[in-house]
Symmetry: C2
Subunit: 103 residues, 2 copies
């Protein structure tokens, strides 16, 4: 793949993950969501930092200790620090994310 | 700034650089070009790797040892290895790049 908007699968029951770059301590990934959300009550708690950018669609991202989820639209980005608990409340179909995972 | 497409300056004689994230060994940057190109005969030779993605506009990127510049359009990305010589032959107004610089 050499284009971020190529090969978008049709709406699916599962999210689509494509690794775009992998280097020591760094991983760039495309995520295509189609209405998925984190399981009820489930919070991600990741050892790596994650910088995420929404490039198509929209999503509600909840961060621990914030009063309400953030609505992320095209172009919006968030840096999620290591071990900052977060969950995805909802996604549009499709939502295209760029995620940069870093040590 | 929390949106990649916010605060795009009007067409300018200079490129616009905005740092979005800076961590040890990692820097994420937005670059907004408005017709600029690398000076004639000038080749970048960078100690860090650079993963670049075009998100608006288009650009011609020349990589050393390739017969012709690559035309990068919306969504196209390229990983430029450390010390891989490259130059920007042309950019549309505006061209919005996301650049991930890494050790």
């Amino acid at each position: 793949m050499s284009n971020l908007f190529a090969d978008l699968s049709p709406a699916s029951d599962v999210e689509q993950f494509d690794e775009l770059l992998s280097r020591p301590g760094l991983r760039i990934e495309r995520i295509v969501s189609a209405g998925q959300a984190s399981p009820p009550g489930y919070w991600y708690d990741q050892p790596q930092g994650e910088w995420v950018l929404v490039l198509e669609g929209e999503a509600k991202l909840a961060l621990d200790n914030e009063p309400a989820p953030r609505l992320l639209k095209k172009g919006d980005f968030v840096d999620i620090a290591p071990h900052r608990r977060h969950r995805v409340e909802s996604t549009a179909t499709p939502t295209v994310w760029l995620a940069v995972h870093y040590d």
